[in-house]
C-alpha cells in the first residue's frame, strides 16, 4: 500500500490496540468484554495485513494458533475452578486479594475496579482466544489464493 496508508496505519495501530486492550480489561464493568475487545485487536491485524501485505505476517500464524488453544483452555479451566460449588462459580469474588476486592456499598465512592473475581480473567482468556483465532483467520484468508495459501 502507499506510504500514506502505511504511515497512518503506524499511527492508528497502537491506538486501536490500546482501545482493544481497554475493552478486554474493563469488560467486567463497561460494555465490552473478551470477544468484543479481541475483535478490535483482530481488526488491527487486518489493518496491518492490508497496509503491509499478508506475506510479512505469515510466520505469526504459527504463534497465534497455539495461543488460541491456550486461551480456550484457560477459559474452561477457570470455569473448572468453581467446581467446589458449581461449574463457573465465581470463586474469587469477595475473597480479598487482587481480583476479589469487596463490593463497595451503594452511594458515592471512588470506584472499585477489581470486584469481579474470575470474570476479568475469563475476559482475558476469551480475549486471547479471539485475538489469536480471528488474527490467524485474517492472515490466513489474505494469504489464501496466493501461490500455496
Amino acid at each position: 500500500m502507499s506510504v500514506v496508508v502505511r504511515t497512518v496505519s503506524r499511527v492508528v495501530a497502537p491506538v486501536a490496540l490500546a482501545f482493544g486492550a481497554y475493552v478486554i480489561m474493563h469488560g467486567h464493568l463497561t460494555p465490552g468484554g473478551g470477544f468484543q475487545g479481541g475483535a478490535v485487536v483482530a481488526s488491527v491485524v487486518a489493518l496491518l495485513v492490508v497496509a503491509f501485505g499478508a506475506e510479512r505476517w505469515r510466520k505469526w500464524t504459527h504463534a497465534l494458533l497455539p495461543l488460541e488453544d491456550v486461551g480456550a483452555m484457560a477459559f474452561v479451566i477457570l470455569a473448572f475452578l468453581g467446581l467446589g460449588a458449581t461449574f463457573f462459580r465465581n470463586v474469587l469474588a469477595g475473597s480479598g486479594g487482587l481480583f476479589g476486592a469487596p463490593v463497595p456499598r451503594l452511594g458515592p465512592n471512588p470506584g472499585a475496579l477489581n470486584t469481579a473475581g474470575t470474570l476479568p480473567l475469563m475476559n482475558w482468556a476469551v480475549g486471547l482466544k479471539v485475538i489469536a483465532g480471528l488474527g490467524a483467520v485474517v492472515i490466513l484468508l489474505s494469504l489464501f489464493g496466493r501461490e500455496d495459501g
Partner: protein, 508 residues
C-alpha cells in the same frame, strides 16, 4: 463428582478438544491416550447422568450458583444458565456417548497422521461436546450456541479431505444450510427474549400464551431445526455431507441430526406444550416426514456412489423419526405414545444401523480407494467381516426381523396406521424400496467374482463396527427390555413430563 456429571459431560470433551493439539506436541501415543481418557470420562458422565435422570427424575444443574440445584433467584426468576436432563435428554446423551466412543475407536486406525489426524480428533471431540450440550441444556440461547458449535465442528469435519474436490463443496453446502437454519433459530430466540425477557426453556414454557409472535417464533424454530435435521425440502446438504465426510465423523453427524429431532420434540412438547398444543403442527411434521422418507428412498435408488446411497438411506430414516414425532404430536397419548416410542427407539437403532453402514463404506473406501458401485464388486472374498457387517446393517436399516430396525419401525407403522392409513402404506412402501436399494448395494459391492485385491480393515476399525453390530443384534433380540428401561422414560418425559420439567427448574 457425580453431582457435576451433566456439565462435566460437556466441559471435559471441550477441554479435551482444545488441549489435544497441545498434547500432540509431546507425542502421538500420549495424544491417543489423552483422547481415550477424555472419551472414557465423557461417556461415563453421560451414563451417570442417564442413570440419575432415569431413577431420580429430572436432573437440574445451575451453572455458577452456590449449589447445583439453585436454579432460581429468591423471587422465582431463573437468572442462571441451567442444564436440565429429563428422560429424553438422558436418552439422547446415551446415543451421543455410543456414537462418540465408536467414532473414536474407529478413527485411530482410519485417519492418517499426515492428513491432519490431530485436527480430526480435536473436531470430533468438539462436535461431541456440542451434541451433549444441545441435549442437556435448559436455556434457549445456550441451545443456539451449542447448535452453532456442532455446525462449525461438523462443517470442518465434512471438509476434512480438503485435497479432494467434493468434500469442500459438501462442507460449503452444509455450512450454508446450517448457518441459515441457525439464523432462523437465533431470530426465534430473539423474538421470545424480546417478548418475555427470559431465555430459560422452562420459564418460557410457562409464559408462552400463543400470541402471533409466539407462533412466528415456533415457525422459525421448526424451520431452522428441520434444516439442521435435513428434512425435505432442506435435505440437499445431507447426502453430500454424509457421503464425503470421513466415516467416523458421519456416525457422530447422524447423532447430531438426531439432536435436532430432539430439539423439535423439546420445542413442540415442552416449550409450546402448554398453549400451542394443536394437532396441526403434528400433521405438518408428519407430512414433512413422509415426504422425506419417499424422496430420500427414491433418490437412493439411482445412486451409484456407495456413500451417497447409504446417505440417502440415512435421510429416509430421519423421515421415519419425523413421521413418528408428527403422529405423536397429533395424538399426544394413545397411539401417539406408541408412535413416540417407535420414533425415539428408532433414533438409537438408526444411529447403530446407519452408523455401521457408514463405517463399512469408510473401510471399503480405505481398502479400495473408490466407492463407485460400477467399479466395485467381489469384495466379499477379501473383506469378510465388512461384508457381514454391511449385510447386518442393511437388513437392520430396512427393518427385517429379528434386527432392531424392525422393532422400532413396526411401532411407527402401527401407530401411523391409526392416524392415517395412507401415510402408513407409503412408509411401508418406502421401506420395501429401501430393502431393494441396500440389497443392490450389498450385491454390487461384496458379491460376485474376486476382481481385485483388498486388504481388510485393521482391528480397531473392526472393533468399532463390532460394537454397533452388537447393539443392532441385542436391541433386535430384546426390544422389550430396552424399551422398558431406556425408551419408555424418554417417551413419558415427552408426553407427560412437561409439568415435572417446569417444576424441577422453577420449583414447586
Amino acid at each position: 463428582m457425580l453431582v457435576h456429571a451433566p456439565i462435566l459431560a460437556i466441559a471435559v470433551p471441550l477441554l479435551g478438544a482444545f488441549s489435544l493439539l497441545g498434547v500432540s506436541y509431546i507425542s502421538r501415543t500420549w495424544r491417543n491416550v489423552w483422547a481415550c481418557l477424555i472419551a472414557a470420562f465423557t461417556s461415563a458422565m453421560a451414563v451417570a447422568v442417564a442413570i440419575r435422570a432415569y431413577t431420580e427424575g429430572v436432573v437440574v444443574y445451575a451453572l455458577g450458583a452456590a449449589s447445583p440445584t439453585q436454579s432460581v433467584t429468591a423471587g422465582g426468576f431463573p437468572i442462571r444458565i441451567v442444564l436440565v436432563v429429563d428422560g429424553l435428554g438422558a436418552f439422547m446423551g446415551l446415543i451421543a456417548a455410543l456414537t462418540g466412543v465408536v467414532a473414536l475407536v474407529y478413527c485411530f486406525q482410519y485417519l492418517r497422521e499426515e492428513e491432519g489426524k490431530n485436527l480430526g480428533l480435536s473436531l470430533l471431540l468438539l462436535l461431541w461436546a456440542g451434541i451433549l450440550g444441545m441435549v442437556y441444556t435448559g436455556d434457549l440461547f445456550n441451545f443456539f450456541v451449542f447448535l452453532e458449535v456442532t455446525s462449525i465442528a461438523a462443517c470442518a469435519l465434512i471438509g476434512y479431505r480438503v485435497w479432494e474436490s467434493r468434500p469442500p463443496e459438501a462442507a460449503f453446502k452444509t455450512m450454508a444450510m446450517y448457518t441459515l437454519g441457525g439464523l432462523l433459530v437465533l431470530i426465534a430466540v430473539g423474538i421470545l427474549y424480546g417478548e418475555y425477557d427470559a431465555l430459560n426453556i422452562a420459564y418460557l414454557g410457562k409464559l408462552i400464551a400463543g400470541s402471533p409472535l409466539d407462533r412466528l417464533a415456533l415457525g422459525l424454530l421448526l424451520g431452522g431445526l428441520l434444516m439442521k435435521a435435513g428434512a425435505v425440502p432442506a435435505h440437499m446438504w445431507a447426502p453430500d455431507a454424509y457421503g464425503e465426510a470421513p466415516a467416523m465423523a458421519t456416525v457422530v453427524l447422524v447423532a447430531n441430526t438426531q439432536a435436532a429431532i430432539y430439539a423439535i420434540l423439546r420445542v413442540v412438547f415442552t416449550l409450546y406444550g402448554g398453549a400451542l398444543a394443536s394437532p396441526g403442527i403434528g400433521w405438518l411434521i408428519a407430512s414433512l416426514g413422509i415426504a422425506t422418507v419417499l424422496v430420500a428412498v427414491l433418490m437412493a435408488v439411482v445412486q451409484r456412489h456407495l456413500g451417497r446411497l447409504v446417505a440417502y438411506g440415512a435421510v429416509s430414516q430421519l423421515g421415519y423419526m419425523l413421521l413418528a414425532v408428527g403422529v405423536g404430536a397429533v395424538a399426544r397419548g394413545g397411539f401417539g405414545e406408541v408412535a413416540l416410542t417407535g420414533g425415539i427407539f428408532h433414533m438409537i437403532n438408526d444411529a447403530a444401523a446407519v452408523g455401521l453402514l457408514f463405517l463399512v463404506v469408510g473401510a471399503v473406501r480405505r481398502a479400495v480407494g473408490s466407492v463407485d458401485l460400477l467399479s466395485l464388486g467381489g469384495l466379499g472374498h477379501a473383506l469378510r467381516w465388512e461384508a457381514g457387517f454391511f449385510l447386518l446393517g442393511a437388513l437392520a436399516l430396512a427393518g427385517i426381523p429379528p434386527l432392531n430396525g424392525f422393532a422400532s419401525k413396526f411401532l411407527i407403522y402401527e401407530s401411523t396406521f391409526r392416524a392415517s392409513p395412507i401415510l402408513a402404506a407409503l412408509a411401508l412402501l418406502a421401506s420395501i424400496l429401501l430393502l431393494a436399494v441396500v440389497v443392490r448395494a450389498f450385491q454390487g459391492t461384496f458379491l460376485g467374482p474376486r476382481v481385485r485385491e483388498a486388504s481388510p480393515a485393521p482391528r480397531g476399525m473392526l472393533v468399532a463396527m463390532g460394537i454397533l453390530a452388537l447393539v443392532i443384534v441385542v436391541f433386535g433380540l430384546f426390544p422389550g427390555f430396552f424399551i422398558e428401561r431406556i425408551v419408555a422414560p424418554a417417551v413419558q418425559a415427552v408426553l407427560t413430563g412437561r409439568e415435572a420439567y417446569l417444576a424441577a427448574v422453577l420449583g414447586g
